[in-house]
Symmetry: D2
Subunit: 456 residues, 4 copies
Amino acid sequence: MLWGGRFEKLPNKIVFDYMNDENDSRLIKYDILGSIAHVKMLSKQNILKKNEADKIIKMLKHLLILHQKGKFQLKKELEDVHMNIENKVTKFTHYGKKMHIARSRNDQIAVDTRMYLRDELLSTASLIIKLQKSFKKLAKKDIAMPSYTHTRVAQPITTSFWCESYVQSFERDLERIFDVYARVNRNPLGACAISGTNWKIDRKYTSELLGFESVIENEMDAISSRGEIEAEILFLLSQLMAKLSRFAEEIIWFSESGIIELSDEYTTGSSIMPNKKNPDVLELMRGRTGRVYGNLIHLLTIQKGLMNGHNADTQETKFAVMSGLDIVKETLVVLIDIVPTFEFDEKKMIIEIKKGYANATELADLMVMNEIPFRDAHERIGKLVGQLIKQEKYLEDLEPKEINKILGTNLDIKLIENAISIKKERLSKKIKLNPKWGGKINVELDKIKKIFCTLI
Amino acid sequence: MLWGGRFEKLPNKIVFDYMNDENDSRLIKYDILGSIAHVKMLSKQNILKKNEADKIIKMLKHLLILHQKGKFQLKKELEDVHMNIENKVTKFTHYGKKMHIARSRNDQIAVDTRMYLRDELLSTASLIIKLQKSFKKLAKKDIAMPSYTHTRVAQPITTSFWCESYVQSFERDLERIFDVYARVNRNPLGACAISGTNWKIDRKYTSELLGFESVIENEMDAISSRGEIEAEILFLLSQLMAKLSRFAEEIIWFSESGIIELSDEYTTGSSIMPNKKNPDVLELMRGRTGRVYGNLIHLLTIQKGLMNGHNADTQETKFAVMSGLDIVKETLVVLIDIVPTFEFDEKKMIIEIKKGYANATELADLMVMNEIPFRDAHERIGKLVGQLIKQEKYLEDLEPKEINKILGTNLDIKLIENAISIKKERLSKKIKLNPKWGGKINVELDKIKKIFCTLI
Amino acid sequence: MLWGGRFEKLPNKIVFDYMNDENDSRLIKYDILGSIAHVKMLSKQNILKKNEADKIIKMLKHLLILHQKGKFQLKKELEDVHMNIENKVTKFTHYGKKMHIARSRNDQIAVDTRMYLRDELLSTASLIIKLQKSFKKLAKKDIAMPSYTHTRVAQPITTSFWCESYVQSFERDLERIFDVYARVNRNPLGACAISGTNWKIDRKYTSELLGFESVIENEMDAISSRGEIEAEILFLLSQLMAKLSRFAEEIIWFSESGIIELSDEYTTGSSIMPNKKNPDVLELMRGRTGRVYGNLIHLLTIQKGLMNGHNADTQETKFAVMSGLDIVKETLVVLIDIVPTFEFDEKKMIIEIKKGYANATELADLMVMNEIPFRDAHERIGKLVGQLIKQEKYLEDLEPKEINKILGTNLDIKLIENAISIKKERLSKKIKLNPKWGGKINVELDKIKKIFCTLI
Amino acid sequence: MLWGGRFEKLPNKIVFDYMNDENDSRLIKYDILGSIAHVKMLSKQNILKKNEADKIIKMLKHLLILHQKGKFQLKKELEDVHMNIENKVTKFTHYGKKMHIARSRNDQIAVDTRMYLRDELLSTASLIIKLQKSFKKLAKKDIAMPSYTHTRVAQPITTSFWCESYVQSFERDLERIFDVYARVNRNPLGACAISGTNWKIDRKYTSELLGFESVIENEMDAISSRGEIEAEILFLLSQLMAKLSRFAEEIIWFSESGIIELSDEYTTGSSIMPNKKNPDVLELMRGRTGRVYGNLIHLLTIQKGLMNGHNADTQETKFAVMSGLDIVKETLVVLIDIVPTFEFDEKKMIIEIKKGYANATELADLMVMNEIPFRDAHERIGKLVGQLIKQEKYLEDLEPKEINKILGTNLDIKLIENAISIKKERLSKKIKLNPKWGGKINVELDKIKKIFCTLI
């Protein structure tokens, strides 16, 4: 134990078992990078001698290589990624005993997490952009489509309009990612346990080395806020999953009514019923939404009523945010593949539009243009629809003359024909992807690549 | 694929990756038992011939042994535990192709889960009883203790009274476990996909073989209700974790103020501050509460607005309930060990009681017994406490005479002394454990053991 | 202020505003009943003189009448229902100053809440039974119906079978209500602030007067467990709302596909689209599910990490459980009315069954009965369905001979005809309601009525 | 009913009761403003004639005045705020029947909500800034204070440092508010039911009139995204409440240990225990955190698996976001008042620092500066602390010489004295408030004021 001085007995095995967090191994890379930056700074500030720092850094680089080869495993009884690494370094050089000067595991885990989250946010953003591209591909076949409100046919739209609604909606998810990214990309290193240190450290220098935009000035805040950015991320992931669950729901129903046909490759069968072709993947996606919501609740629950300063409760933030990111990324990967394989069934779409009297509003608007107050037009068209349902007829089955007669109007025949025809011109969209996001991601990835070049 | 007939292409690898659920391996034992019972029933009903059934059962028993030796691993591309097992059996005997007659994976997973949950509920109940015993042990040193409301000293109690409050409280957790157990222990097998089967099956017979109390009659309900008992269990686990988090909070604060001393074995140190002795284990326990809440939300979210009948969304119920049970059981194991190691510090407790003027209510009651209306007594004692705080004095520092003078009363000196003394007689408890629960668990465990004897 | 003795300044208005809880007014009745029982007990135990008790009780009864006439309003600056009532009584008789002997607001609110919850649980149970009756009514028209798994047609069922699945499912909700009822119906009165009292009170006597089954022995547990039964109730309400949201979803989709027609009386129109007939009520029901889940999370969050003993955090439990009960009861009331108005459309149901090849499993089973292993039968029928889809044909369009030819079988023609015909016999259900619940409710209501007779 | 055309029966009273949402009355002002802008646009585009528009607008302005005087109440049977207002206008002028041209209640509620949320976000931001100012005030008395990690004394800090940690932390809440504000401040008007309209409307013009930064281009997205910004806001409110609950927890414990004294004005007493002074307000704050979390879960649950397009489920978003905002704002108002009334107890703080051996890390650092490796220094100081605890002594009780002897060092006496003395210089902070936020709020408020001037 690296802290056993005041203890007469060391912790029981039961404690290590309970405290153990396998997710720590996902932070090895970041912990090594953070340690190299810390040691470089200590050397620059003459807190460590150059040869001491060099030896430590040499071993840290070596450990990184071992890790990349899968040859460095964390030991439970050494508690966590930080103590495992310090222990390894110290076995190699007794200068390792000095590498923890002017820092604590509290600021160390904060810096590791932030580096990890930066990478994850960028890769999530990339996947969202890819999904937007999948929708753009799908939109190429641009045909008339029914829209729905209250799960009832509303007005006619087009498939490109529908695709665009998703593409535009994902813009907000990207906005949220970069809003959070700005808060993630701040340097907590140097906050130490909670109140900073008397050593003359240079926090701007480690920020530069690790690619952080700024320093979190108040050290107590840097430590106490653990879980806050994680919660923010889990919220944006929850909101994204909510959206994807709605998309899954749409496709499940569109493929049931047949207006969209799913590829065999993305469906499964029943062990007992030979007739089934089930959209399992989309259902599972919808079900996993709850897991991400649950992780968000996990993080909010942890924070509730927790004393400020570091507390072990926040160890759980790793699991919550990591598994949330995993689920969302896996889901995006599946969707990127599936979306372009959807087949729209034009015939069935037209039938849906007719069955739903989707052009009723246009007919009402036509009446209004002919000086009939909107509410009166709405009333009369409503009655017409009611009659047609009883007669099992569609609007399109009526001659314009008949329509005029029933409505008690004298509308232009051409205009009536136009109003009740299936048109797609108005709503057809040439989907444009926002080039800004790709640029942003590249700029940040470049910065992160530079960190590696500088440190390794 | 065991269902590929109507498909032109088989599912993409990406689908299997996304659908894969490692938790299925925890159900191997139960799936084998359920299959043996099913095949026995088919044989009894002459749906399978005896020799066909025997061959299938032989292989199932063999698989169970392989599994127990760690030599049977599930393959992702065979989808799930059911298809993996059927596939293995069929490799050994082509009669395996018949074992799925008159059942579906839908009732199969339901029966597996219920058998798994029975075992888990019983082992959770056993751990709760052990924890009650730990409190009984701790209660042996029975001394005066302050109680708190609003995190402020209230009235004096005793340590055994405090221990009993937990023991009694856990009774309700046990009640809840057995309430749910009754709903878990019902047989869904034979519900098939959703509407039962035309085969003349005998559901009572499989219930008997598998130890279920009754049959779930309506097959659609048997299938659609997946997630309901899981949610019930996650609620009772959440409520239990809430309670344990409150206990953790109490001990964290009692060990901060020093009225309870934690053993070195259950605390850890700081990597930077040599002075620290931290109750990490208790904090982590408190933090993990949120994970169980999150799992509950996961299950409720899955169920919301889901169409009836089986849907793949409910695959997620396995992860949620299994990881919830794991956390709770691990937490109970730690507490069973820790609780008896607490050391009460009698001296510090007395100081707390005095500092909190904990006997003020008894003094007020004494006044009331002497014909002073309660509200007036409360008022006068309140003023007295206010004065003492300013003078930095305790009630116990005053002579009974002085008290009479300040209060304007003429109370019996002996009675005053008695009212403001630290007594423990009234609240001391000899903690009795409820013998009923142990009995219940044993009865159920016996039944479950009998299943093994009958089937294996 | 009834507790102002030790204070130099009274609370700021801002405090009263923030602390104010309008839900207290829903407890007036119970607080009065509880106070009458308490005062009767104090009199029986000679802690109050008979004439003192009589005067207090007289005023309490008077207040109850005022309340029932809407003439007794709680004042914010008197904090809560308890202090308002004590204040009123004391204005009438100075013996009022004695009514708080040997109790605290902590046990008082607990007893009020439990009496309130008993009533609410019983009325919720009554509504569930009424809803079961609505399903029984609906089941009278018993016709063939498609069932669904994965939102895809599965096998044919009947409408009564479908109705029964809900009726049976609600049985578990009733079980849960009475499981919790047993835990609610225990007497906390006499626990006082947290540690009971030195007064010689008789807790069994108040239990009897107030109709409680038993006494909560450990006083600390009686107080600290506030929120636990409320959480249990919110869980069962959440699970019930989950179920109702699933029912709403089913009906929304069944009425979209047209197999069920909703009455105009329970739908609404669009302000702009004259063609719309929207199932708003069912949607809102689905949306309100989240509110009940939210209230459950509210209660679990409150409990997390809260110190034992009474804390003001738990004041919020009132709002959570009361608004949860309100929503569920209002939702049940609406459903009881709507369900019997559903019109099944037999023609459309038959079409759905055919379109979904719902009889494929029966045909496979027929092959199995003719010695073809189940997996092979499944495979061949699967291929047949695949072909039919391409040809836009149904199973019913084929001659039995053709079927034999395609399947390569020699099945009996009659049996084939039977297998692919729409039959309802097997699944038709005569729905039986469980008489036990009505009995239970009546027994409890009688007890509660008796309380009134005894106390008022 | 303004949409009754196709209906034979009007909705049952039970439907209106269930659908009724009292929160609609909070949107009256915004609905009127939105309608004025819409009608102005219709007039500009020659869809309405100038005199028609003028009459409608005149009545809308009149209604606003009536509303401000409390003389305009919504009627349940007219469904919602939109239909109530259109109904009133139409009673005054039959041109009212034309005001709904080219819009739907779907885009109307979206525009109302966004205007409401803009106001609310700005007022919440103002309150946060006021709370920062309260901390600045409190920081004026700048003295030494213990810091805590794991609820154990860590290192010495100062009160201004502690205050600054909150002030800095609130900066992120303000950032989040303005991040969301940018997404809120976009114009959905003109999206109509879901797919826009054929009328030649000018969405930029209404954006300008109503002060929106931009138009939400895809109409389907404008409608389907209802609930998304509400969820974002509830998340930021949840995160803020989490923080405030942590602050409440700190103060509850600081006032228990006595290092902070609460004013009588913000505490309450017990009805039974005359000795109590309870921090009820802070506890309730902590408890209400769960209510805001619950509202967030409400919104996420609504969104899960919901079909795109408008659905009545989202009616519930009003309640959730409105009550969330109410709670947070009320809580901030209370805190703004309380914070500056805290009294730090310098004497007790020094005792806490000593009792916690808070200077141990500085002593270890001193050893490191004298060439002892950090891990060895940590070990030796840890042992020293262990001994002192047994001897019931503080670091400050030892002579520097003794310290050297025990540690086996030869450290400079002056430096030892310095290391173990209570210093506040290093951590004392002059709290600076970020002027940017106030500026932002003013700019936005000016824009909003301008809307009024233009429209009314």
